[in-house]
């Protein structure tokens, strides 16, 4: 009885009793959710256009952030370091297409998946070699990202929002909107969607695989840079950042590997739900630290009922 009460009643009573605190929790959840969504989006784009499950997405976040900080440490002004990092990400995308993807085209999926593990290991080694393995500070101020905070007093309570989090959320939304417009309105975007639908047919109308792959990996690189800046500003830049990629896995299970909107909604859902669970159920009942596993449990539960994920692409079958 006591237990049921603390699971089913007390958490909700707490939420109602302190709505300002609930709001704070929701905001924190949204911020991490947006970042999960971004990473998942990188996965989805590459998977859609090449059926490759890109294990290297997480390390690309680290590599982009490291490059940015590393360039700045070597005397490049911060605002110049950003475009330079983008150039590096483009070169990386081009190199991956040339050296890894092109020779392996038409090989079984598992081989390409293994190849992305190879890319991961290469980027870890290469990144350490050039920029060193120690923890670095993200160049937040130098990029003119405000670091102050706003305070609100809703419901007679108190909510604090860090300005850099607001910038991160705003930047992520802008990026996603730009991406959606690009995918739906431009010729290249149409080709990416076509390739995702039917590989053979895309080849037959002359869509060039290599062009699209370089483009898609570059977009994934841009997403990685934005995620790297936002996450680095909160937690510093180190190889430990890679673990947020593992947070994208349950997002993908939840949202479906092929769905852009699934990645966004799945990311937000996991970000918010895991924070709520941690604060209202995890800490009082389980001693906290539930954020590491909650997302997986949630995703597995969803998989039991919807194997294609919540928003997985419906296979159009005509009878």
């Amino acid at each position: 009885m006591e237990l049921l009460n603390s699971i089913l009643v007390k958490p909700f009573a707490d939420m109602i009793a302190a709505p300002d605190f609930l709001l704070q929790v929701l905001w924190e959840g949204t911020v991490s959710g947006v970042l999960y969504a971004l990473i998942a989006l990188g996965f989805v784009l590459i998977f859609k256009s090449s059926r490759i499950f890109n294990f290297a997405q997480g390390i690309m976040v680290v590599f982009a952030a490291l490059t940015l900080v590393g360039l700045h440490q070597n005397g490049v002004p911060a605002l110049l370091a950003v475009p330079l990092t983008l150039v590096v990400m483009y070169v990386l995308a081009y190199g991956i297409e040339r050296v890894v993807l092109r020779p392996l085209v038409n090989q079984p999926d598992i081989i390409l998946f293994m190849a992305t593990i190879g890319i991961t290991l290469f980027l870890i080694g290469f990144g350490e070699l050039i920029f060193g393995g120690e923890n670095k500070r993200m160049i937040t101020e130098e990029l003119m990202i405000p670091t102050g905070s706003f305070e609100f007093e809703p419901f007679g309570g108190f909510v604090l929002m860090e300005q850099k989090d607001i910038v991160a959320v705003g930047g992520a939304i802008l990026l996603v909107v730009a991406l959606l417009i690009f995918l739906n309105k431009s010729k290249m975007g149409r080709a990416i969607r076509a390739l995702g639908d039917d590989h053979q047919a895309a080849l037959s109308v002359g869509i060039s695989l290599s062009t699209i792959w370089v483009l898609v990996w570059f977009i994934a690189g841009v997403i990685a840079l934005v995620t790297g800046i936002a996450w680095g500003a909160r937690a510093g830049v180190s190889f430990a950042l890679e673990v947020i990629a593992y947070k994208a896995l349950p997002v993908l299970m939840l949202g479906g590997l092929e769905s852009v909107s699934g990645a966004i909604i799945g990311g937000l859902a996991i970000g918010i739900l895991e924070k709520l669970f941690e604060i209202y159920w995890g800490q009082p009942l389980l001693g906290g630290n539930t954020e590491t596993w909650f997302a997986y449990v949630l995703a597995l539960t969803v998989l039991l009922f919807r194997p294609q994920g919540l928003f997985g692409e419906k296979i159009i079958e005509r009878v």
Binding site: R190, A194, D197, D198, L203, S204, V205, I316
Partner: protein, 278 residues
């Protein structure tokens, strides 16, 4: 030293020439055992044969889509518009005006009909307004597609999907379309409609066609010349009209027996005819 023939200057030369090609899948499976054929500029040529005879493989060898299926042309050569095909990617070939419409339509099912058509213009560099004009042209040939332009292609009917696939190929401004089994799974009336449009495109847009078909009857009525393929070899070829009159074609492909049923034992097997076009 050899002077390449000037492309398209000479209207008498065939637009496509396939010389004695052999195709092997996965390094072991021999599928084509020396196929030769040619398609005249502005012609409609039919490639006939039963399931598994090698029609699709022949077309894919020409459009260079074989690589995607681990197939390889190991002997012979293919020339499109005076140029060797083997060294070109599918993308290069589409750019040069040779495009394949694959068997089973292969529309992009989650894209709208209009997006499907526009994706056919991927290789073009002549600007948005020219592409818009061609879109209208395609709609004038396939008015039904205009009505359904915003529906997802996967939800349209089989006939509409076939039209979308042909329209999509047209958007690349091809000189030649390799059309694989356009009649597959369509009602006879619709088959007739599709072939009428093929004929119109051939006459008005001067597109040459190589047509792989199982439906020998329809194909021979619209084509000018035909080749019959049997287990990886060309066993018979000739003017469409004369093929229609051929007793064996009648019996095996058109289903009209001359004098009662014959036992399969009596069937005359065509010996391989060596061809020395190469």
């Amino acid at each position: 030293m050899t002077t390449a023939p000037a492309p398209s200057a000479d209207t008498a030369s065939p637009i496509l020439e396939v010389n004695n090609i052999e195709v092997i899948y996965d390094h072991v499976i021999l599928v084509l055992k020396g196929v030769s054929l040619s398609v005249p500029r502005g012609g409609i040529t039919a490639l006939l044969g039963a399931n598994g005879a090698g029609k699709t493989t022949t077309l894919k060898a020409i459009s260079n889509l074989l690589h995607a299926e681990r197939g390889e042309v190991t002997k012979g050569n293919i020339q499109f518009d005076g140029e060797e095909v083997q060294s070109l990617s599918p993308n290069d070939l589409v750019r040069r005006g040779c495009i394949q419409v694959m068997e089973g339509r292969h529309c992009f099912s989650h894209l709208s009909v209009e997006d499907n058509l526009l994706s056919g213009a991927f290789t073009r560099r002549d600007g948005a307004s020219a592409i818009r004009d061609d879109l209208e042209l395609v709609y004038s040939y396939f008015p039904r597609l205009k009505v359904r332009r915003n529906s997802q292609a996967g939800y349209t009917s089989g006939g509409e999907q076939q039209m979308t696939a042909i329209g999509r190929a047209l958007m690349s401004r091809p000189k030649m379309i390799l059309l694989d089994e356009p009649s597959m799974g369509l009602a006879p009336q619709l088959v007739e409609e599709i072939f009428e449009i093929v004929k119109k495109l051939n006459e008005e847009q001067e597109v040459s066609f190589l047509l792989a078909e199982q439906n020998t009857n329809v194909a021979l009525r619209y084509a000018k010349y035909g080749y019959i393929l049997e287990s990886g070899r060309i066993v018979l070829d000739g003017e469409a009209a004369s093929l229609r009159e051929n007793e064996d074609v009648k019996e095996f492909y058109l289903g009209v027996a001359g004098d009662g049923r014959r036992s399969f034992k009596d069937v005359k097997h065509y010996k391989r005819r060596k061809r020395w076009l190469a």
